[in-house]
């Protein structure tokens, strides 16, 4: 569904991505794992059109590498940016409503979106309890749920998540990742960027390991978990 060919991205003189080839198929969770500064976020920003790049990105056979961010979003590739970017001054419900702009366009009516909102509340019942609350007053985990739910409001065909575990308590992280699997089971492919390699490998079908802008290792997640190099670099020392 999504394929990158020789993707090169740089900030000024500093090249961040070096000829990255990646693929995300229908219905799978693909994890992109790497340490700080490896180029994970840049990779997502390149796909969603926020970073200038060379090389090719194909989405269902259409080149999207020179399209604007909002065009790419309207084609169904939705990014959940790093660090819980809620709209603090809007209520939970209004936050969710903004998510529909992607496929409904800009309209002067408030639109009938109650069915979509109910769908989100079914996935995240916690949001329903807080629906009239302003987004800034939510806890970190709730904000992360809101951001994911907001992206789901746009009926994504590919959901890209940037560090959904950042700054959350372990218990909440588990809850959020359960929901990600649930969303994926319902038919949305997910491209997951994570520093928490153990967790990412656990929930994903396939994974890419990125180091200093190069994909160094790729394969099925369950094989990667067993791989000595991965264990040493990302999962802690191999137990004997």
């Amino acid at each position: 569904m999504l394929k990158t060919k020789n993707l090169v991205a740089s900030y000024g003189n500093i090249q961040v991505l070096h000829n990255v080839n990646m693929e995300v198929g229908d219905k799978e969770i693909v994890a992109l794992i790497g340490s700080n500064g490896a180029g994970k976020t840049t990779m997502l920003n390149a796909i969603s059109g926020h970073v200038k790049l060379a090389g090719q990105i194909e989405y269902n056979g259409v080149g999207i590498h020179n399209k604007k961010p909002h065009t790419i979003a309207s084609m169904g590739i939705l990014q959940v940016p790093e660090g819980r970017h809620v709209f603090p001054g809007l209520t939970v419900e209004q936050n969710l409503a903004v998510g529909t702009v992607v496929y409904r366009g800009i309209k002067l009516t408030s639109g009938n979106i109650s069915a979509d909102i109910e769908m989100i509340y079914e996935i995240f019942p916690r949001l329903k309890e807080r629906r009239k609350q302003l987004a800034w007053s939510l806890s970190g985990g709730e904000q992360q749920m809101l951001v994911i739910g907001r992206a789901m409001m746009g009926h994504p065909k590919l959901l890209m998540m940037d560090e959904p575990s950042m700054g959350l308590a372990p218990k909440i992280i588990e809850e959020v990742f359960d929901k990600i699997v649930e969303i994926n089971k319902a038919g949305t492919p997910v491209l997951l960027v994570e520093q928490n390699a153990a967790l990412a490998l656990e929930v994903s079908n396939r994974a890419y390991i990125i180091e200093r802008g190069n994909i160094t290792l790729t394969g099925d997640s369950k094989n990667l978990i067993e791989d000595d190099r991965v264990r040493e670099a990302y999962l802690g020392k191999v137990k004997k």
Binding site: V80, L108, V147
Partner: protein, 327 residues
């Protein structure tokens, strides 16, 4: 006994009383005071335009007085050079200013945040220069005189009360349009951009287009205000449409609260009427505004209306818990 529902009172009865009071104003006010109120209501339209661009969309503009002037000169030219009826001129100049702002928005909103503000300062300076020097259209330094009064169909509205009703109903319409806009998908996109532009982009909001639309809507309001001013005052001079005036709008909306049309109204009325009531203190007015705004930003950054609303919400919550405890 049924308890008095405070929510109902605040939501319907108070605004109803306020409306009735407004309609009765011309009955007991002097002509001079009515003129002051008319100007204040025209100013309100401009402050409302600032609510759209600053309060909703989060982009601070210093060019609103310039757009006001664009609307005013457009209306004057439509009526005097092309012989358009005033009502048509009002609509055309509102539309024209909207298009003007929308197109400029496309250029300006390539700049982010306060860089847009800087650009709007530049726009204000250029527009004021144009008003002063473009003799064929704006009359140059002499301005335009003898602009006919407003009329609907054949009925010429010359008296102060007549003008009051016309302007009042246009303000009322604008007020409710803002409410509609606030609840619409478009308004939500504005607020999404205000709160977090990156996230809005990720959700497919085209921020350049959306911000330009916001600037266009604010242009439409300013344009209507300009046309009304031209018909009311009867003459236009470049000295009216200054940077100073733009700053004044900003002070008004900050005082009332940037987050609602009602706040804009409160701010506008307070400053407009204050200017009349404390004329003897005129030399100190700038000082009073400055100190007042500073104190307000420290004590109540959401403005007078925002502060009032916070107290009301607190009260509602308090009475709700009290009631559940009583049950």
């Amino acid at each position: 006994m049924k308890q008095l529902n405070y929510k109902f009172v605040i939501k319907y009865i108070l605004p109803g009383l306020f409306l009735a009071f407004c309609l009765a104003i011309p009955g007991f006010t002097s002509g001079y005071m009515l003129r002051v109120l008319n100007i204040a209501l025209i100013t309100y339209l401009c402050v409302l335009s600032l609510y759209v661009i600053l309060g909703m969309c989060g982009q601070n503009s210093f060019a609103q007085a310039g757009l006001w002037g664009v609307g005013a000169y457009m209306a004057a030219n439509f009526v005097m050079k092309m012989g358009a009826p005033p009502l048509a001129a009002l609509l055309l100049s509102s539309l024209g200013t909207a298009v003007f702002a929308f197109v400029l928005g496309f250029a300006f909103f390539r700049l982010r945040q306060y860089y847009f503000t800087f650009a709007s300062v530049g726009l204000m300076a250029i527009l004021n220069g144009l008003f002063m020097n473009w003799n064929e259209v704006t009359g140059g330094a002499l301005g335009i005189t003898n602009i006919p009064s407003f009329s609907i169909g054949g009925a010429i509205i010359k008296s102060e009360p007549g003008n009051f009703y016309v302007i009042f109903f246009i303000c009322l319409a604008a007020f409710f349009l803002m409410k509609v806009l606030f609840n619409s998908a478009l308004g939500r996109s504005f607020m999404a951009i205000r709160d977090n532009e990156i996230a809005a982009n990720c959700l497919g909001v085209n921020s350049l287009l959306t911000k330009s639309i916001a600037f266009g809507i604010s242009g439409a309001l300013c344009g209507a205000a300009g046309a009304l001013y031209a018909f009311l005052a009867g003459y236009l001079s470049y000295q009216t449409f200054t940077f100073q005036q733009s700053t004044m709008y900003l002070i008004m909306i900050m005082l009332g609260g940037t987050m609602s049309p009602s706040g804009a109204l409160i701010g506008t009325l307070i400053i407009s009427l204050l200017q009349e009531w404390v004329r003897p203190l005129q030399n100190y007015m700038q000082f009073i505004y400055g100190a007042g705004i500073m104190i307000l930003m420290i004590v109540q950054p959401e403005g007078i209306f925002g502060g009032g609303k916070a107290i009301y919400d607190k009260y509602l919550k308090h009475s709700k818990t009290a009631r559940t405890e009583a049950d």
